[in-house]
């Protein structure tokens, strides 16, 4: 079992203190709201799709450090990517957080996002890390809002080919 202390690495604490792409996005054409009713976390993801490319993205909300840092690093990672690339990262991030993708053994496109790999050992925190990615998926597909507990929970549905 990985040392859970590795979860609160400086990069995560830094993104929690100074979240990137935080705030409103005036020119957004896709939006979604995500919430986790179990802990009260909620966040909004807004993005501007230019053709198939994510031209701009922003988020805001109230959440724990894991969720906020995940959202911040997510926005930095997917900005400029195509919808298809973003969906692949959503899938890979989810697989990493739930332990089905071993980032040190299998190929992936997550880069520095592997700092979140430690959540796989903290089952109650997995949803904190995944919530921004659920919400991005919902925004890309223009689902008005998403929840880690709802019946259309992307956690229980295939992500990537919606």
């Amino acid at each position: 079992m990985a040392d859970p202390k590795s979860l609160y690495q400086e990069v995560i604490l830094d993104h929690n203190r100074k979240p990137r792409n935080y705030g409103e996005l005036a020119q957004a054409n896709h939006k979604a709201e995500g919430h986790n009713p179990l802990c009260g976390d909620h966040l909004n993801v807004a993005l501007k799709l230019e053709g198939e490319r994510i031209d701009a993205i922003a988020f805001q909300g109230e959440s724990c450090a894991i969720c906020k840092a995940s959202a911040s690093m997510m926005t930095a990672s997917v900005k400029g990517k195509t919808r298809q690339d973003a969906e692949q990262m959503i899938q890979e991030f989810r697989d990493m957080a739930t332990g089905t993708l071993e980032t040190d053994k299998q190929a992936h496109h997550l880069g520095r996002l592997t700092v979140f790999a430690g959540v796989r050992d903290l089952p109650t925190r997995v949803k904190c890390a995944i919530l921004p990615w659920h919400t991005l998926h919902a925004a890309l597909n223009s689902i008005a809002d998403t929840s880690t507990e709802s019946e259309n929970d992307p956690m229980h549905a295939p992500i990537g080919d919606a």
């Binding site: 609160y8 976390d41 450090a65």
Partner: protein, 419 residues
Amino acid sequence: MTARLSTLSPPPAPALDVGRLRADFPILETRPGGNALVYLDNAASSQMPRQVIDRLVRYQRSQHANIHRAVHTLSEIATAEYEEARRKLARFINAREEREVIFTSGTTEAINLAMHGYGRRFIGAGDEIILTTLEHHSNIVPWQMLAEEKGAKIRVVPISEAGELLIDEYENLFSERTKLVGVAHVSNALGSVNPIKQMIAFARARGVPVLVDGAQAVPHMKVDVQDLDCDFYAFSGHKLCGPTGIGILYGKAALLERMQPFKGGGDMILSVSFEKTTYNVIPQKFEAGTPPIAAAIGLGAAVDYLSGIGMEAIAVHEHNLLDYASAQLRRMKGVRIIGTAAHKAAVLSFALEGVHPHDVGTLLNQDGIAVRTGHHCAQPVMQRFKVPATSRASFAFYNTMAEVDALVAGIRNVQKVFS
């Protein structure tokens, strides 16, 4: 654990021989996750002493059969032990009669039993149920279900900034349509001890029965249902050093007799034909099916254990723990205690500036400190204080001042990580 010396006056000497009592709890010697366990999540569930564990084992090894059924010796032994447990519980809360003690699966089922048995028979369209902002969801949702089914209304007693019920507002909520009051004895989220004796007297003077959710009170103080004069009192075994899956609904006999059964099945009947079924007398009328016999007997052993220590001595020690912990947290910058009622029991809810409770919980856990973080199944309380969640340390008599020091050191560490 590294006890940090406090600049406060030294903690008061324990009213109990806590070291000796701790030796009764095998789990306190375990090291989940590799650290010495500092278990401060007693409001969620308490730990079990070997006296109760041994009693469960003895029952399963040598006394188990189904109860109230067969003529064979083992069944008679099991039945006698089960009914002896009921007597112990009746004595523990000073019920007038043991048939006023109904075994349920826990507080939640006890409240649901009262809702189905009393509420569905006696509460109708336009009637009103008074609840409080401090209630656990288990004393809100059943009544909402009833209100929706019957067209009844729920009125809610507000609380002050300290987390105390506003008693004037409570009294003003009564009307001719008030049919029931549901109130927590002790708030699970804040620890406030509510003035239920006064509230019960007010309701009963108007002919309104009162259900008390005692889940967070019974483990921490002497409860006397006759002195309180409540109509119902619900609590759980697993917060009382007993097993999960067992709890109690106390109800006044006259009221229980007028109620309709909750669950239908074996043991709750006197005779059955397809034309007519005659229900059994109380308490069996409410105990359909084979009950959790071992858990009931285990709970009997648990209240024996607690009575042996003395609920008064337990209350004194836990107050000392709470006072010491509260004083420490009050002195810390960036720490806000949520719930500052004058009269509190065993619960310390707090928020750290700039740190989400889930991060607090995860980081404290790395030091072996078990606290609860979240909304504590009391979302109306969270809404009242405008927080999504809190961190909650909750004490039992086997906790020590050194464990409070460990909590304080753990909180300092969280603040350091997030500084």
